[in-house]
């Protein structure tokens, strides 16, 4: 490719990377953490009883107690099984969710506000759901654009394929790191870009297709991909959850149940649907459907359905790396960190080319490291108050940006140290709040990661400060 083509590609790459950097960074950071959203949910309530499996009797008892305690009107009931990825039993309706113990007795209310805030940050950037999802979907497409322009723009893609020149002014090191990650992890970036864009663009596409070919009927358009609800005419009764769960052992013995939903509660259309993970497949689940009396109606037909149906239904697991337990999550976490580093180093290369304008450099450092501090402090606030976490996070991030603009001493190493201190403060507050539960498995698997991060970032900040002196 000639020089002009490469330069044009680099111009596009720079514009997308720099002018959408904050959104891309926040989505990548929160997405990397959200790989472990199930582990974060466990971390938020480490004291809850955990179990590997549950019998149909226990499920029925837990749901019976929940229905008696929460008689308010609802369209759905849900049971989340311990085989869902979170080894806990949860019963819920559209308004409340409770954990149950191994005997099916209700214990604590589910309270995972921080995890929800983190996942919402990734899915919508905490904006109103539909607009936020379209914007984040657009960022997925931007990642694809960055991969395409980045590969075209790379002047020495084969010559530098294994080079890493460290130290010096730091600019070459950043460039090498950026290019090596960008090249070798490109398949992952494309997977994330395409599947990420799906979440935002599916709604847009659905609206368009329904207007064009289904007289504006979104349900009819959706039914082309996602199996529609069965049409039933039954007498209204309490759903026989036990009978439905009981049959799973014979219907799909090797499929792990994720959750059970009772749809159209208290109507003649009421039916039970059990979502079960299909071994070896990326589709979210195969869904087993039962009528109110627990009689088996059939599956939703994803496991052996048309390839297009399977491809769309596989987007979720492919995006979040939630398909082979901890190994796939760890792979996605490491590659997610690399994608986040790619965002950071891209902007730092651009700043270095401008000889690091002080205010902009400080603002970027505040965004990168301040957002981690803001997340940690938001988690602390969640421990002790009922303040709205979205507002807390964004106010803290705004405060970081104001500090970066007004305080010249707040350079990158200071922000790194601040984020380290914030994470340590979170660990201290968490231990104080949860006591001995802060040392059980659900807590430790996140806390050890946080401790490792805090140690690394403090050391990094200290080293950079020493170098600056």
């Amino acid at each position: 490719m000639d020089k002009i083509t490469k330069q044009n590609a680099l111009n596009g790459h720079t514009w997308i990377g720099v002018f959408l950097s904050v959104g891309l960074y926040l989505v990548c950071l929160s997405g990397t953490l959200a790989v472990f959203y199930q582990e974060f949910e466990r971390w938020e309530q480490p004291e809850i009883t955990e179990m590997q499996d549950v019998s149909p009797d226990v499920v029925e008892r837990a749901m019976g107690q929940f229905m008696a305690a929460h008689p308010q009107e609802t369209d759905h009931f849900y049971v989340v099984f311990p085989t869902s990825g979170i080894p806990r039993l949860v019963v819920e309706n559209d308004h409340a969710a409770y954990f149950a113990d191994q005997e099916g007795n209700l214990i604590d209310e589910e309270n995972v506000k921080f995890t929800n805030m983190l996942v919402d940050l990734h899915l919508y950037l905490n904006l109103p759901a539909s607009w936020g999802m379209i914007l984040v979907g657009a960022l997925g497409a931007m990642i694809c654009g960055l991969v395409i322009t980045g590969i075209i723009a790379h002047k020495r893609i084969s010559k530098d394929a294994f080079k890493l020149r460290r130290k010096g002014s730091g600019q070459q090191a950043q460039t090498d790191l950026h290019n090596r990650i960008g090249l070798w992890a490109a398949p992952f970036h494309l997977i994330i870009g395409v599947t990420g864009a799906y979440f935002g663009m599916a709604g847009v596409l659905l609206t368009l297709v329904s207007q064009l070919y289904f007289d504006g009927d979104r349900d009819a358009a959706t039914a082309q991909i996602f199996t529609p609800d069965p049409v039933l005419e039954q007498t209204i009764d309490v759903p026989d959850i036990k009978k439905a769960v009981d049959q799973m052992a014979t219907l799909a013995p090797d499929h792990q149940p994720i959750f059970l939903a009772v749809h159209e509660v208290n109507s003649s259309d009421q039916f039970i649907e059990i979502f079960a993970k299909v071994p070896g497949k990326l589709i979210y689940s195969e869904n087993y459907r039962f009528d109110t009396k627990g009689n088996y109606l059939g599956t939703a037909g994803y496991e052996n359905g048309n390839w297009g149906k399977q491809a769309v239904y596989a987007m979720y697991r492919l995006h979040f790396g939630d398909f082979a337990g901890i190994p796939s999550k760890l792979l996605y976490f490491v590659l997610g960190i690399m994608l986040t580093v790619l965002c950071i180093s891209g902007v730092e290369i651009w700043l270095a080319k401008k000889a690091n304008p002080p205010v902009l450099s400080r603002l970027w450092a505040a965004t990168v490291w301040g957002s981690i501090a803001a997340l940690a402090i938001t988690a602390i606030v969640d421990l002790f108050t009922t303040l709205p976490l979205v507002a807390v996070f964004w106010l803290l991030l705004a405060l970081c940006c104001i500090c970066a603009m007004t305080l010249p001493t707040m350079t990158k190493p200071r922000w790194q140290q601040l984020s380290g201190v914030s994470v340590i403060a979170l660990l201290a507050c968490y231990t104080l709040y949860h006591g001995s539960d802060a040392f059980n498995l659900p807590a430790l698997q996140i806390n050890l990661l946080l401790l490792g991060f805090a140690g690394w970032v403090m050391w990094r900040g200290h080293t950079l400060l020493k170098r600056q002196r």
Binding site: F162, K167, L208, N306, S328, K354, A355
Partner: protein, 181 residues
């Protein structure tokens, strides 16, 4: 299971080793060997984990396993003799407006173009409706990315915008008047 995972991992490492060797001695033979080993490693992952997981592992794991090869080859540079003075950032009204225009084009106009173009193309493919919609969903971000490259590559932005508007008009006509499904 562990055995097949180890064999697949070895296959990935072998392909990376061959790529590294081809880079070091600039040999085309090693490069093709690396490509072959890479394809075999994807097959090994597929045998070990099933083809759906296997393809993901086969494509993504090299991004992690390549680092020992890169680190083996790292060089330490000397510190700079002088630090350059920061260059001013242009915040002129014209520049700000031009960037706002780029936002509008890249986030809104190109989204419309890519959605309509992908749908028009995928509805002409000889697949079932599920296959056509799935192809469309996969095509949208890739087309959008390609259009981004085009928009920023062409010198005359108004011409690029005009071209997008023409594509939108043609696709809209196709979608409205040509039968689908």
């Amino acid at each position: 299971m562990i055995m097949t995972v180890c064999i697949a991992l070895a296959g990935t490492l072998l392909s990376l080793g061959l790529f590294y060797q081809s880079w070091k001695v600039q040999s085309l033979g090693f490069l093709w060997g690396g490509v072959g080993a890479f394809l075999v490693s994807v097959c090994l992952w597929s045998v070990s984990q099933g083809w759906e997981f296997g393809v993901v592992y086969g494509l993504c794991i090299p991004g992690v396993l390549v680092w020992p090869f890169i680190l083996q080859n790292q060089v330490l540079l000397r510190g700079p003799n002088q630090m350059p003075t920061p260059r001013p950032v242009d915040f002129s009204r014209q520049r700000v407006l031009s960037h706002l225009g780029h936002y509008g084009v890249s986030l809104v106009l190109l989204m419309i173009t890519s959605v309509l173009l992908s749908l028009t193309v995928s509805l002409r493919l000889p697949f079932t409706i599920q296959g056509q919609l799935a192809t469309c969903i996969i095509l949208i971000p890739l087309v959008w990315g390609g259009l981004l490259y085009h928009y920023f590559a062409v010198k005359s932005k108004p011409k690029a915008v005009a071209l997008n508007l023409v594509v939108i008009a043609v696709c809209a006509l196709c979608l409205l008047f040509l039968p689908a499904f």
